[in-house]
Structures are given as structure tokens and as C-alpha cells.
Subunit: 112 residues, 2 copies
DNA sequence: ATACTATATCGCCATTCGACGATTAACTAT
DNA sequence: ATAGTTAATCGTCGAATGGCGATATAGTAT
């Protein structure tokens, strides 16, 4: 039983593998902050009620408005949320597909 | 149908919720770099063969030895991998339980 | 004891991140 | 037209990250 001798094929990576790993890392990076995880969790709960966000995320998170806006921008960039103008407010929604994609990519890593 | 008026209960967070969100963010942070995702993927594949790493991760990743060591340190800190001395080498293994925990936490966020 | 190997750590640098206040932009309401 | 509200953007700051070469450490082998 080889305790320490993997075949070199272990290291082989298709172009798709590399893309998947990069995309996974990019989404993970967007989720790498408690405030953003909180936002995603809130928006996901909201989704079950077909609603979008109007309440005071700023006071809820205890962060400055500009800081919250920046977190939303990062989540938007990672396609984890969408933002639709619904004057006078913005309507933020979770992008469940992207969260599911993250889950799928994780599953691929977990069970190769 | 309220398009934009969540009940404030959406925002309520138990202490456990907060801890879970923080732990999820911490693990996500460790996975927020392509090189570390690659390492996790490699070690996971290796796990199925009951092996551990002896091959040249450094040349495989195309990074300096010190850089790879730093990535391993970060993964270790997040408990995603374990390191056991097996002189003259180190035996790195995936910690499947922690990866599974990440998956569970993600599932909780996805389906609250 | 000496030489060799593998890994961790140190010091340095450039870049990115997280936070904030202040400002701007877009739209409403009066 | 004016005032008010919401959100994005700008500028700034300190802290953290990612990268590297060089060095230190721990263990093996001769």
C-alpha cells in the first residue's frame, strides 16, 4: 500500500478543471467575509417569500452605508446577487443559480 | 404580494447563526485562491487512494516553495488539511470532515 | 560529524481589502 | 424648481494578502 506515492495522473488538469477551480475560488472569495455571508443568507431567506430587500441593511449589519454598498458590489460582481432598480430603492435578490453552481463545484471537489 | 417588505424576523440571528456564518466565511476565505483550491482538489483525489502527497507540488503549481508552504499553512489553519510528519517528508491529507462541514453550512444558507 | 533533503519561517515588496466620511447621481415628492 | 431620499462612487487610511529569495530547522544518510 503506497502511503506516499500518487500517480502523476493525479495532477493532470483539463482546461475545464482549471476554469472550474478558478470560478470556485472567485465565488469563495466573494463569500469570504461574514458580512457578505450574512447578506447572502438574508437574501436567500427573503427569496422564499418572493421579496426583495428594502429594510435597513445598514443598521442591521452595523456598517457604514458605503461599506455595505461595497459588499453588495462584490457579491454582484460574483453574480451571487442581482440588483434591480425599483425606485426609490434597489431590489437586491439572491441569484440561486450561482449559489447552486458553487455547490455543484464544491461537490465535484468533494467527490472527484 | 409585498415585493419589497420583509418582516424584520428575516434579520433575526441566533448566536449559532452568527457563529455558522463566521465559520463559513473563514473556510470560504481559505478556499478563495485558485492554488489552494487546486491543492484541496489534489488531496481529495489522493484520499480515494489512501495516499498522501509526496510529489512535487511546487513545480506542479508553478509557485515558489515558500509560497506553496504558505498556502498549506492557510489550509491547515482552516482545518481543511492535516499535516503529519513522515520523515523526511510531510504527509498532507485532506480533512474531508471540514470540507463536508463547509458543504453543510452552504446547504443551510441555500435552503434556510 | 558532515552532507543532504524537505519544510517552515523571515524579511521585503507590491497589491488588495475593509472600513469610513464625503460627495455625486438618480429619482421622488412637494 | 426645490428639497429629500437612496445608493453608488471617490479618496484615504491601516491591515492583510500573495509573491519571492534567503535563511533556519529537523530529520536522514553517509
Amino acid at each position: 500500500m503506497p502511503q506516499c506515492s500518487p500517480a502523476s495522473s493525479i495532477f493532470e488538469r483539463t482546461a475545464e478543471d482549471v476554469v472550474n477551480e478558478e470560478q470556485f475560488a472567485a465565488i469563495a472569495k466573494a463569500l469570504a467575509h461574514p458580512a457578505r455571508v450574512r447578506i447572502v443568507a438574508i437574501l436567500t431567506e427573503l427569496e422564499t417569500r418572493n421579496g426583495c430587500l428594502n429594510s435597513d441593511l445598514v443598521t442591521e449589519l452595523g456598517l457604514a452605508q458605503s461599506t455595505v454598498s461595497e459588499h453588495l458590489r462584490i457579491l454582484k460582481k460574483a453574480k451571487l446577487i442581482t440588483a434591480e432598480p425599483q425606485p426609490p430603492r434597489m431590489c437586491y435578490r439572491i441569484n440561486s443559480e450561482q449559489l447552486a453552481r458553487f455547490s455543484t463545484l464544491l461537490a465535484k471537489i468533494q467527490a472527484p
